[in-house]
């Protein structure tokens, strides 16, 4: 339930909201945290396996192996989204399947799939970033601000 502080609610509405609060089932936070830990951990372990694979069988260093690893995880997430599996993993895993890069791939792929029926330009192109858009927008902006701070600190005689 959103904050009611600034909204003008009548006494009857406030009374009802208190009535509802007592009766609506709560999100099982502890259980969700444990599941998120489990699912997120499994996803990251799979990623780790791929990283070792690329380091062992190909000419990658620990740093450079992250690129093909991320690409592989993205492809797997997109395939699972297309097969209609990823949303079920997410209902179980919650934050555990949203936070890794696979969750980001799922936001793009699911929006693209849903809007394929409106064509490639207005549908897929226009809606693909519907959910991921805010993450990218504020991510880029935050990086810009941090970058500015770093430049100023260095200019002030840092390293």
């Amino acid at each position: 339930m959103s904050s009611n502080a600034q909204k003008k609610l009548t006494p009857a509405q406030l009374e009802y909201q208190a009535f509802v609060k007592k009766r609506e089932p709560k999100r099982p936070v502890l259980k969700n945290c444990l599941r998120a830990f489990l699912v997120g951990g499994i996803i990251c372990t799979i990623g780790q396996v791929f990283q070792w694979f690329y380091m062992t069988y190909f000419d990658f260093t620990e740093t450079s192996a992250s690129n093909p690893t991320v690409a592989t995880m993205i492809i797997i997430a997109v395939i699972l989204t297309a097969l209609g599996v990823y949303d079920h993993i997410a209902q179980f895993g919650g934050g555990g399947s949203i936070v890794p890069v696979t969750g980001f791939a799922n936001t793009l792929a699911s929006a693209a799939l849903d809007h394929r029926s409106e064509g490639f330009v207005l549908g897929v192109g226009g809606n693909m970033f519907k959910i991921a858009g805010p993450v990218i927008t504020f991510g880029v902006f935050a990086a810009f601000v941090i970058g500015l701070i770093a430049v100023v600190l260095r200019g002030l005689g840092g390293s």
């Binding site: 339930m1 959103s2 009611n4 909204k7 609610l9 009548t10 009857a12 509405q13 406030l14 009802y16 909201q17 009535f19 509802v20 009766r23 609506e24 089932p25 709560k26 999100r27 099982p28 969700n32 989204t81 297309a82 209609g84 990823y86 949303d87 079920h88 993993i89 997410a90 209902q91 895993g93 919650g94 934050g95 399947s97 949203i98 969750g103 799922n106 936001t107 792929a109 699911s110 929006a111 799939l113 849903d114 809007h115 029926s117 409106e118 519907k130 959910i131």
Partner: protein, 337 residues
Amino acid sequence: MLQGQQSWIFANRPVILASAAVGGPFEARGALAEDFDILFDDLWLGQSSYEKAEKRLLEEACSKALNKAGKKKEDVQFFISGDLLNQVISSSFTARTLAVPYLGIFGACSCSMEGLSLAALLVDSQSAELVLAATSSHNAAVEKQFRYPSEYGSQKPPTAQWTVTGAGAVLLGREGTGLRVKAVTIGRVVDMGLSDPFNMGAAMAPAAVDTIQAHFRDLGVDHSHYDLIASGDLGRVGYEIAFELLKKNGIAMPAAKFVDCGMLIYKPEQPVIAGGSGCACSAVVTYGHLFQRMHRKELQKILVVATGALLSPLSYQQKESIPCIAHAVVIENEERA
């Protein structure tokens, strides 16, 4: 004829000549599968978009209802329909196919009983001989418009509901045998200030309670007058709240008499969280399951209270609360003298 403040009593008691319930693959695996007339095993129904699939569901329900009554679309004077998609496209596009004079309505998930009420009014007032009332919803089309893409992985809270893929249609006439529409109560918009689109049941419960109370007051009856009172799509959470609210307001009824269509339609093991919702929820359960039970004489007189949450994707992003409505229709199984 107006009775009390907001109810109509139909002296001519319009007859339900036929009804049809159509469902998708998830409904086919549900608890009421055998009460459907047509079940599709493909969520796309062979169409190129979910929106077209929903239109196809509605068209199938309409033509099935006409077939069952042995009528042609040319015999029908008016078609009344509503759905959840922007600009009620499923209804309007079906009206284009039917080519019957058309009234498009919007009452969110209360469309089923809103349409039936208006159809009964037209027939009762002798403004029409035959009226077709219908409604539809499609899980993926509705989720796409109101919430997230259907394959998007977000964890839904325990109050979330599952939009029913299906369509229901009912053909009303003046003459004939069958179930009859005896009275309706048109609901007021009730807004208790809730704004969580993942908890529609709690938002809609007061609207259902308000309409049930108004109905009892206007008609001077109580729950003992009915064999069953069915709410549209409150789900488990909303149902509990509505039941408690009724009790608090002095309308105590046995729990077995008050049911919710959203809780009946699926099996407990299906992952629908709090239950079914959407325009098709009350439509398919009433026009399929409940009407079958009435034909089998298990129920004589029922009150269906279809509930609707009148929000839009923009209104909740702008932090508006959710206005809700409920319309109640009395349906009686009356042996003709």
